[in-house]
């Protein structure tokens, strides 16, 4: 509750600037190298081809859907972990982090093993809904959610833990039940972490390639997201490499636009 100062005089130490610049360079220079190799003559036709636009729109739609799914499942999961006894929380957190380690392709194989024809779960789903999950747009969303969920859960959990217990206690003594404490106090206070988590999750989801390729396949318009289109172009050798770069730039530009448009993702948006 400290007053927001005009200038606290606690800027980052000068010694931090050089490594920070190096870090930024490591992230940005490869992108510049990528841009510099783009073949400008074919760029426009590459990025406006029906296949590219279909893939982009599919990526945005599935990315949004899987991010929504992750928020719906991940925020409660983060909450349960944040409120579990220390040992349980420790174990749960490790479990949640494990899929991060898995090369996405293996994640895709695991999803196939779980939902595919040869599994019990797959059979149940087919019996229940008469459809198979695999090789559908739903599969894309599931694959993206599988790889992106850990990012959401872990960063939200972190901010839920640090979002002051004192305020929650005050709310409870004012008669607020768990739900009200959660929605009116805990989540708003954890908002910066939540927004960051959602961003990480969305970015990871629309960049997802390996798990989607295995679990959902590579059908244009149905499961061919941008990364798959890029991969497909890339595999085409020859001019394919150029159109892969063009498609990557399209994806990058879109991502930058989406990220910049998230106004809430700003310091002091809440506090």
């Amino acid at each position: 509750m400290a007053r927001v100062p005009v200038d606290v005089g606690t800027r980052a130490p000068v010694i931090a600037v050089l490594p920070a610049l190096l870090g930024l360079a490591l992230l940005v220079l490869p992108l510049i190298a990528l841009v510099s190799r783009a073949s400008w003559s074919t760029l426009l036709s590459d990025v406006t081809s029906k296949q590219a636009l279909d893939a982009l729109s599919l990526s945005l739609r599935t990315g949004l859907a899987s991010t929504t799914l992750c928020v719906l499942l991940g925020v409660p999961l983060a909450l349960v972990i944040a409120r579990s006894p220390a040992r349980v929380a420790h174990l749960l957190r490790a479990l949640v982090a494990v899929p991060l380690v898995l090369p996405p392709m293996v994640g895709g194989v695991a999803l196939l093993f779980l939902f595919g024809r040869s599994s019990q779960v797959g059979a149940w789903i087919e019996a229940l809904w008469g459809v198979s999950l695999t090789f559908s747009t739903t599969a894309v969303v599931l694959a993206q959610a599988f790889v992106a969920l850990p990012f959401l859960v872990l960063s939200v959990e972190g901010s839920l833990r640090s979002a002051g217990a004192g305020y929650e206690q005050s709310a409870a003594t004012l008669g607020a039940g768990r739900w009200m404490v959660l929605t009116r106090v805990t989540l708003p206070l954890a908002a910066p972490g939540l927004v960051a988590g959602v961003i990480l999750c969305f970015a990871r989801a629309i960049g997802e390639f390996g798990a989607t390729a295995l679990f959902a396949g590579n059908a244009p318009g149905v499961t061919q997201t941008m990364p798959l289109a890029i991969y497909t172009a890339f595999n085409g050798a020859g001019t394919g490499r150029e159109s892969a770069v063009a498609l990557s730039l399209l994806l990058l530009a879109t991502a930058i636009l989406v990220l910049l448009s998230v106004r809430a993702w700003r310091p002091g948006a809440l506090k």
Binding site: G116, V222, F234, G236, A237, G238, R241
Partner: protein, 240 residues
């Protein structure tokens, strides 16, 4: 194949084809001419990926009607699961040396690979397996800088000038401006076979349509197109 096409007024039969990534450009053309020749069948879509990815997906129930593999081993795993009709070999492919534009390593033969920065496919994957065989036949010992998991990675390194040479399939270099290709001696002895098979799933009419596509690819019109993209003719050889 018997021409028992349904009346044109009816909905065409739709089949899905899964093809190895290296077939991408050739199958684009084949799809067009097949659909022109068979208006009652529509191919939607052709999925391209690594053969082993496609095989795994088919084993897990991917709704696919035709599988065109870049190697016989992956085809066999699907066949052994009882999912295919008899596969047909429809193309062959041989290896070529890819060098960066201008050939900075002055590579002209297999023997030069021993002294250049060379990348190969890993021996576990089909192109690597073939490369080992080719080098063994020529008695050349190469210590590769890297054993890539696929042709794409080999080509990327060569095109970027990181490697002075790489062994890839002739069809992969055809039409790539960033690399030049050299046909090594003995290439003809190490042949990679491409089998295709209709899958025994779905309705009878779909299975028949799938078989018609396989026959089209393995038959005259398909062969012409494949040849344009550098594939070798269908050799009636025993697969292994």
């Amino acid at each position: 194949a018997p021409q028992e096409s349904a009346p044109p007024s009816e909905e065409p039969t739709v089949i899905t084809v899964a093809a190895a990534a290296s077939l991408q450009r050739a199958f684009g053309d084949i799809q067009q001419s097949f659909e022109k020749a068979n208006p009652d069948i529509r191919i939607e879509p052709i999925l391209y990926d690594g053969s082993s990815t496609l095989a795994t997906q088919i084993l897990e129930g991917a709704p696919i009607n035709v599988f065109a593999s870049a190697d016989t081993r992956n085809m066999r795993s699907v066949q052994e699961a009882g999912l295919t009709a008899e596969p047909r070999i429809f193309a062959t492919n041989t290896l070529a040396i890819a060098v960066p534009k201008g050939n900075p390593g002055h590579v002209t033969s297999l023997a030069d690979l021993a002294n250049a920065t060379t990348v190969l496919c890993a021996p576990q994957v089909p192109c690597g397996h073939a490369a080992q065989e080719l080098l063994r036949n020529a008695s050349v010992k190469v210590t590769p800088a890297s054993m890539e998991q696929n042709v794409t990675a080999v080509l990327a390194k060569v095109a970027a000038g990181e490697a002075e040479a790489g062994l890839v399939y002739a069809t992969d270099v055809a039409g790539d401006d960033a690399v030049e290709s050299i046909r090594p001696d003995g290439a003809d002895e190490v042949v990679n076979y491409y089998p295709a098979a209709a899958l025994t799933v779905g309705e009878q009419s779909t299975q028949e349509a799938a078989q018609r596509f396989v026959d089209f690819v393995a038959g005259g019109p398909g062969q012409q197109i494949l040849a344009r993209y550098g594939f070798g003719a269908r050799a009636e050889s025993s697969e292994n």
